[in-house]
Chain length 312, copies 2
DNA sequence: CTGTTAGCGCATTCAG
DNA sequence: CTGAATGCGCTAACAG
């Protein structure tokens, strides 16, 4: 009771002092494994993301860590690389009772596949790119409306007079929803849609996709990238050809990673406030971990905002 | 034996099949806490870094995760913010038996403070910015010679004809060693040293420090930043004043984060190959975890390289 | 080769 | 208010 930092009122001050004396003297530290075995609580939470090296995710994790740490939970970071096989593997892994809860960005795995975890009572928070309820499952979703955001970006570009707007995206992930929004907006405006998808969602992928776009005769006057990393790669491709941004080709990204304000010209993009998303996700998880909430999953929408800088 | 994936040779094929059948049927998954309690191995390693949002560290962690995961260890990520109090707190925390080993970047805590951990047999790998043996302790160090690198950068700048080279740095961390190298080189060249230190080692800090430098009459012709984030901030400050890089003011950074090749102009910097450092650190840790090595700590130097781009 | 058993270090119950 | 006793689920050592 004293050792685990619990209620001290039922211990005489004298005994308390004796215990504390002994603890200090022996350098005693409680063993977490034994505690976990006894209490069924590991005080650890898993954070599963596609790529820890994509600046978007560390910002998210920062937010998560901030609130969970203050509740004395630890955070385990896991990369899935956005690969379905790895996502499934870690879902399996979570059942080993290593963690008390999960916050994750899952690209391939769908709600029903979480069933075994949910049945076991594991709190789960998913971070999504579109409204997508966990259905009958006790999964809390939190999302930014990527479709609406992409629609707004595209409409913004149309408003600037662009008649040939192309989109570049990476395989998997939130890209598809953003492409949808782009297609809808471009169609409404009576313009042609043109989408180039690369295997990877990094600068390299953006460079390649943009290069493909710039090769042909019909060079777009604006490129909308599904994320900032790809946008930055596209800027490279454009500038490498001696074209200038935004006068020859405008560029818009998505995520508002820090680097975006430091490239030249500063990148116009969509902010998703990943720190806030992370904190919100952690709070939702805490609701469940603390038993304050139970039952059906919730869906929370978080805001986005078009950040106008100079690249478009 | 069968359940824990160990030696199967001493089990009849028949029994084996029956067990596997039952396992699948019941969806049995071993409980890690109980395993840990029994075996004294948590199969988890802590990775302690100053700031997970600084792109340098995710790259490092990527390397670490790659090798540890292949040995079926998990990695816990922890931020210290480079704050001495937090570093100490987590050192204490490590004694709770949550992890089997530690890989960390420690800015304030010195070798003797690891003593309680070392005594308990916890393998520790430190990532440093200068040769600094763990002394009598069983701590494996791995470092890049920041002093030599900074010296080389400064000498390079002198070679380019700069007579007024300033350095900007953040509080704490590897900065001090780099400042040393800068001072030595500048002194050797018979030039004055000028160092501005900001509280934070991010773009903001770099912006502020560079601004201070540009205010005065004696504007430097070259600024050497202790890390890339600060260098990028400095570039902003320079360009905001309508000055151009490198003709008015040259800029060199340190770390070679990915963003550095995408800023404009691309940043000249020092590569430390963080992925390789992470992998090496993980390998050193595995040596201890597997019992292949024991006894006194080792010191491993890793290479750096000046990457010439267009900012200087 | 197979089935049984004794702790690992705690939190929690119960008797004092 | 305090001390002692009971498993948590597993692994390793043992007896069959």
């Amino acid at each position: 009771m004293v050792l685990s930092g619990g209620d001290v009122s039922s211990v005489s001050p004298d005994t308390l002092a004796r215990i504390q004396q002994a603890v200090r003297h022996l350098g005693y530290v409680p063993n977490r494994a034994a505690q976990a075995l006894k209490t069924n609580r590991t005080m650890t939470v898993a954070c599963i993301v596609p790529d820890i090296a994509n600046p978007f995710y560390p910002s998210l994790m920062r937010g998560i860590q901030t609130v969970l740490e203050s509740e004395s939970y630890d955070v385990i970071a896991i990369n899935t690389d956005g690969a379905p096989a790895r996502e499934k593997r870690f879902l399996e892994w979570l059942r080993q009772g290593r963690v008390d809860g999960v916050i994750g960005v899952f690209w391939a795995v769908r709600a029903p596949e979480f069933a075994p975890l949910v049945e076991v009572g594991m709190p789960i928070v998913r971070i999504e790119s579109s409204r997508k309820s966990g259905g009958p499952f006790a999964i809390d979703d939190i999302y930014v409306d990527g479709r609406a955001a992409a629609h707004e970006v595209t409409t913004y570009l149309v408003g600037k007079g662009h008649r040939h707007i192309a989109m570049i995206a990476g395989q998997g992930g939130p890209e598809s929803v953003r492409v949808e929004g782009y297609r809808a907006a471009v169609t409404t405006a009576g313009l042609p849609a043109r989408v180039v998808v690369d295997d990877v969602f990094t600068e390299e992928g953006g460079f390649r996709a943009a290069s493909a776009l710039l090769e042909g005769d019909l060079r777009p006057t604006a490129i909308f990238a599904a994320n900032d990393l790809m946008a930055i790669g596209a800027m490279q491709a454009i500038q490498a050809r001696g074209l200038s941004i935004p006068s020859d080709v405008a560029v818009v990204g998505f995520d508002d990673i820090r680097a975006s304000s430091f490239v030249s010209p500063p990148l116009t993009t969509v902010a998703q406030y990943q720190g806030a998303i992370g904190m919100k996700a952690a709070e939702l998880l805490m609701e469940r971990l603390s038993g304050r909430k139970s039952g059906a999953g919730t869906v929370t929408e978080m805001p986005f905002q078009l950040i106008e800088r100079s690249s478009a």
